[in-house]
């Protein structure tokens, strides 16, 4: 009859955000996701007249993309409680798992841009905030055909094995990097993105730890795209290869230009945790959607003259579905919020109004990276973050983000599987999104890292 927001203070702002997201999901994303899922050729998903673009525009017009940007660049970050991001991801996942990924990852290069030491790049964030037509689309170009789980192992010591080094490399030549290699077909927004957070190999001898991060406009000469990936679930989500052939990347685009800085340290854990806690909230939302669809179904469908909801077996199975969904939703929300709340607070909500803050951030990061390369004492200092006896709070937290992702995606998959068994033939009817939700959930257990790989990489921080 209703769900509680356990552990969340739902004030006016959060309620309004949730309502906007819910309306967008119900009216725009859910129906679009179902329609796009049916297209047999994934090229049709991104063609000019595709409903996909209504989804992008609808999301931006409602200002939902601004949540990940600070006020200085026209965003709303810090104006809402830190729980806002989890609630938004949850509502998007409730509407459509694939489109949720597409919309959320779309802002990633522009959030990262704020940390650049170049004003030109930092201003991408403003351009993105103002782009209501969906002309700027970001992607996260990390996974490679031969290196999937290897990337995740980067947060553990095993990540320094040279055999794990990325295939896509960037070699400095004057004021440019020459980039060669390719990113795998699982890059979300891969064939439609205009900008990428691009992970490049800088020093093979350090394995994954030898990689750097570029913020890369995807219209540079030498960049081409593969065919959109044809896949089992989340078919509304565009994915595809990005190929780099002797691409000349000006050095200003290289955000992390020193290898070895990140890796088996708190920042690696925070990065992994942050990506995964958003995944967690998204697929907890999908699990929730399955629960609601199922409740609606059993309360309106009779078999052999008996309402399904009047059968004991069905009642118990539905209650158990409820318990699992709510447990995963709670974990996803609290895990995501805990991280964001670390950096929130009155000071930062004032600070983030000023561009100067980000000038400082960008310059400091750049200076730190250079110092890290130059001075042994900085490297030693950095290593102290790594003390397993007294782990950094980011490391402590990272594992919760991963736990949330594993729990939510598997809950979504399991409850969708259970729903298929309850719906029977009806699950396969085009009128019902249930079988689609199962396929969407199926993909999520691999997206952003195969679940067992995530567990393996994160185990040490328990």
């Amino acid at each position: 009859m209703g769900y509680l927001d356990l552990g969340v203070k739902m004030g006016r702002k959060l309620t309004a955000l949730q309502e906007t997201a819910r309306e967008f999901g119900r009216e725009v994303a859910r129906p679009a996701g179902i329609a796009l899922d049916r297209l047999n050729d994934p090229a049709d998903v991104i063609e000019e007249k595709s409903v996909l673009w209504d989804v992008f525009r609808g999301f931006r017009e409602r200002g939902l993309h601004r949540l990940m940007l600070p006020a200085a660049f026209g965003g709303t970050m810090g104006k809402l409680p830190s729980m806002a991001t989890a609630l938004l991801a949850e509502q998007l996942g409730y509407a459509d798992g694939g489109l949720a990924i597409s919309l959320m990852v779309s802002g990633m290069p522009f959030s990262f841009a704020m940390m650049s030491s170049h004003a030109e790049i930092r201003n991408w964030a403003r351009d993105y905030a103002e782009d209501t037509r969906g002309e700027m689309i970001g992607c996260w170009a990390i996974t490679e055909p031969d290196h999937g789980t290897d990337w995740i192992m980067g947060v553990s010591k095993a990540g320094s094995d040279p055999r794990l080094a990325p295939g896509l490399t960037a070699v400095k030549k004057g004021s440019e990097y020459i980039v060669n290699g390719w990113k795998a077909a699982w890059v979300s927004n891969g064939t439609i993105a205009t900008h990428a957070v691009l992970h490049v190999g800088l020093d093979d001898s350090l394995g994954v730890h030898g990689s750097g991060i570029a913020l890369c406009p995807l219209d540079l000469p030498g960049i081409s795209r593969g065919k959109p990936l044809n896949k089992v679930g989340q078919r509304a989500l565009n994915q595809g290869e990005i190929i780099f052939d002797e691409v000349k990347l000006p050095e200003k685009y290289m955000l992390i230009h020193i290898p070895g800085v990140f890796g088996a340290n708190p920042f690696g854990h925070a990065f992994l945790g942050a990506a995964n806690s958003t995944m967690g909230a998204t697929f907890a939302g999908l699990a929730w959607a399955v629960l609601d669809e199922s409740l609606d179904f059993v309360r309106t469908t009779s078999r052999e003259g008996v309402l399904l909801a009047d059968r004991e077996d069905i009642k118990i199975r539905m209650f158990r579905m409820f318990a699992r969904v709510e447990a995963s939703r709670l974990l996803a929300r609290q895990a995501a919020d805990h991280f964001l709340a670390m950096s929130a607070g009155p000071v930062s909500s004032v600070m983030n109004r000023f561009k100067a803050t980000y000038w400082t951030v960008g310059k400091s990061l750049h200076a730190y990276l250079n110092a890290y390369e130059k001075y042994a004492f900085v490297r030693n200092l950095a290593e102290r973050f790594d003390n397993p006896e007294k782990p950094h709070k980011l490391t402590e937290w990272g594992k919760y983000g991963v736990a949330s992702k594993i729990t939510a995606t598997e809950t979504a998959y399991d409850v969708a599987g259970e729903a298929v068994r309850i719906f029977g033939d009806e699950a396969f009817s085009p009128q019902r999104p249930i079988e689609k939700m199962l396929r969407d959930a199926r993909a999520s257990m691999i997206e952003d890292g195969v679940n067992d790989g995530l567990a393996l990489a994160t185990y040490e921080s328990i």
Partner: protein, 393 residues
């Protein structure tokens, strides 16, 4: 399929049959299934130029469609149960959708042979003589359904019946020339009884519909049949008042569900084989992932489940052979439920072993995964059959 070393042994003739069958399942059926799955529209599967027709023709050349029709009528006669399930496993290994379609195509004629009234016997004989593959059957028989209102209605009218109603989710709906269906017989005095109709489907008052979107077993989509006062001759319909229909129906669905169990066990085996081969090839962390203990444990658990499903259905057949089928409904429901769950689980785990590649259409796994799910609900939801079947304990 790997791991056949402890299958329940069969005689030499059966081994030869299975070997011939395997040429077909490997060389014809699996590739055709993958091609059909990729059709832009589900209805394309049934187009005149579709490779589906080649699959039917090649299968019929093996004469296995005549199994269980007595030799008197020109059929193959009985096949021992173990050979039967080993054959069904191989069909499921190749393509679950086609496997079910190929077998459903014989169903009305097998029932006709069993009823063996003059008209029914003739129909069965005709089927055995049909070397062109012109006759294709379909079926919708659910003996656990007690409510006569849920069936096709057959009104007595003149010296025949008028049939009306609709049947969703029928295998072969698009192409069947004949069908065997539960009917609710309404005699002139309005009394109702259960009947079985084995009827031709060439009447213009029969319409067929294939859904625009199909996900599971897309290589061979089910469809809906609609009957609008279709006139059929009296001899096409038998009533439970005249024949022990319940026994016939139960024995039919026991056979069907045993077959389905074997098909889904075979499908699980197909996914397991792909996963094993991939794990030995795919390098991650510098070594083939098979070197990692967690991957071997995962593969072992898949192996354990797939082989348990195969064991359950093989034992079912071995037991049947000696002791007759009648008391095996509960075990049959259990085997089918286990096999379908196993197929769903093992195909999903195999995707997980493949990682991102497991999700892509280029590899067969995501198709196996989609195909498996229908097994949990087709021809009766597992749980509903189970809860009902338990009453006999």
């Amino acid at each position: 399929m790997s791991f056949r070393n402890i299958d329940i042994p069969v005689d030499e003739t059966s081994r030869a049959i299975l070997k011939e069958l395997e040429k077909f399942t490997t060389g014809v059926m699996r590739p055709a299934g993958i091609e059909l799955d990729a059709c832009s529209a589900p209805a394309d599967v049934f187009a005149d130029t579709s490779p589906m027709w080649g699959v039917f023709a090649a299968f019929r050349a093996l004469d296995l469609h005549l199994v269980d029709i007595s030799e008197d009528l020109g059929g193959f006669g009985q096949m021992d149960g173990v050979t039967g399930v080993l054959a069904a496993e191989r069909l499921g290994y190749a393509d679950a959708g086609l496997a079910i379609g190929l077998t459903a195509a014989s169903a009305p004629f097998r029932l006709a042979a069993q009823l063996n009234t003059p008209a029914m016997g003739d129909l069965a004989r005709q089927f055995c003589e049909d070397r062109q593959g012109a006759m294709i059957g379909c079926r919708a028989i659910f003996p656990w359904q007690k409510n006569l209102d849920n069936m096709l209605l057959a009104h007595e009218d003149g010296d025949g019946y008028l049939i009306s109603g609709q049947l969703p989710g029928v295998v072969n709906a698009a192409i069947a020339t004949h069908g065997a269906f539960d009917v609710s017989l309404a005699s002139r005095d309005q009394s109702k009884s259960r009947g079985l109709a084995v009827i031709p489907l060439d009447d213009p008052n029969i319409s067929r519909e294939i859904p625009e979107t199909v996900s599971s077993q897309r290589s061979f989509p089910r469809g809906t049949l609609r009957f609008a006062d279709v006139r059929v001759p009296r001899e096409c319909v038998v009533s439970e008042k005249d024949v022990p229909l319940n026994d016939i129906n139960i024995s039919f669905v026991i056979g069907l569900n045993r077959f389905l169990a074997a098909v889904y066990a075979g499908l699980a085996g197909a996914a397991l084989d792909e996963a094993l081969a991939y794990a030995k090839k795919r390098v991650q962390g510098g070594v083939p992932i098979f070197e990692h203990r967690n991957i071997r444990l995962q593969l072992f658990n898949m192996f354990k489940m797939a082989e348990a499903a195969r064991a359950a259905v093989q034992r079912l057949a071995a037991g049947h052979d000696q002791q007759g089928m009648s008391q095996t409904w509960l075990h049959t429901v259990a085997a089918r439920s286990l096999a379908a769950e196993t197929a769903s689980h093992v195909t999903s785990e195999a995707i997980q072993i493949f990682g991102g590649y497991g999700l892509a259409r280029e590899f067969p796994l995501e198709k196996f995964f989609r195909d498996a799910r229908l097994g949990l609900v087709e021809d009766g939801i597992s749980e509903d059959l189970a809860i009902d079947a338990m009453l006999q304990v």
